[in-house]
């Protein structure tokens, strides 16, 4: 009974706090609302401008694409790039890697150790073929 009464009193006080809550003056309310709305409008105007520019670009591109203008423009641009590359490109000094002089005067290759032979640039052990062992015939005078 007592707790119910207390609860009711509490609810009454809560309602009173809500009902009597401090209110801003109309001037403050008007001023702040106007300030917030003005800011929102400015932002919206900015985003509208961007959206409009994007839509206009898309429209122009679409119109060009429909009459083959894009392919024409791409070809033109490609050719221009090619031309520019040809003009700007700098040729370096050509070095011949294989020549008679190089074969003659190049740095001598290191000799292979005994029992090894150079095969395709690398020193490899040479196996003796079977059956080719030559024996000197006995001295018969």
């Amino acid at each position: 009974m007592r707790s119910w009464r207390r609860k009711r009193e509490s609810a009454g006080l809560e309602a009173e706090l809500r009902a009597n809550r401090p209110e801003p003056s109309p001037e403050l309310l008007y001023k702040l609302e106007a300030r917030v709305r003005e800011d929102g409008r400015r932002l919206r105007a900015g985003s509208f401008r961007i959206a409009f520019a994007g839509a206009l670009t898309a429209g122009v591109l679409g119109a060009l694409a429909s009459v083959g203008g894009l392919g024409y423009a791409a070809t033109g641009a490609g050719q221009a790039v090619e031309k520019a590359t040809r003009v700007v490109h700098k040729h370096g000094v050509t070095t011949l890697h294989k020549s008679a002089a190089r074969a003659q005067y190049s740095k001598p290759k290191a000799k292979c150790p005994k029992g090894k032979k150079r095969v395709r640039g690398k020193c490899k052990k040479v196996k003796k073929a079977r059956g080719v062992n030559f024996r000197r015939p006995p001295f018969t005078g």
Partner: protein, 171 residues
């Protein structure tokens, strides 16, 4: 990504922020200044609002709290900021409002904060708990106690008020 505008509907937000600030520091020009500063900051940092973290009002109340805490020390709250008037020639409702405002003004800082958040800014206990980094249950208990202290203050006012005594005698 689509961004939510936290200040799309400013009027109820202004009312709630002002009510919270007025419950905290008292009704009047100081509360209006803090409310204006809060909205100026909110406009400046609108892009930092994250709708996943909470409602716009909770975000604004967070800003307002920091503005109140960052006020210079000479602007400390005094009961003069809360409504006081000659109670002799006021209607019952107005008198009740003044008694309520005065009683809130005499509460401790923490109680005023909780009452401001709950009944001024209309936040739920859960939102207050998130703002304070506390448990919802702890906030509910603290609110209940704050209301008890407010009631005690008001009862004390009622007994001491000559206007109330006169009106009670008249009945």
């Amino acid at each position: 990504m689509f961004r939510v505008d936290p200040l799309a509907n400013p009027e109820p937000l202004i009312r709630r922020v002002y009510a919270y600030v007025a419950y905290r520091i008292g009704d009047g020009p100081d509360a209006e200044d803090i409310t204006s500063e809060t909205f100026e900051r909110a406009l400046r940092y609108k892009k930092s609002y994250d709708s996943r973290k909470g409602e716009p009002v909770a975000w604004l109340i967070g800003i307002a709290r920091r503005r109140i805490e960052g006020r210079p020390a000479n602007l400390e709250i005094s009961s003069e900021h809360y409504e006081t008037a000659d109670r002799g020639d006021l209607e019952d409702d107005a008198l009740r409002r003044i008694v309520l405002s005065g009683a809130v003004g005499r509460l401790e800082e923490r109680d005023r904060e909780l009452i401001g958040l709950r009944y001024g800014a209309d936040l739920t206990a859960r939102q207050i708990a998130e703002l304070h980094g506390a448990k919802t249950n702890a906030i509910e208990v603290a609110l209940h106690r704050a209301l008890g202290r407010l009631r005690a203050q008001m009862e004390g006012d009622d007994e001491s008020s000559p206007a109330v005594r006169k009106s009670q005698a008249g009945r």
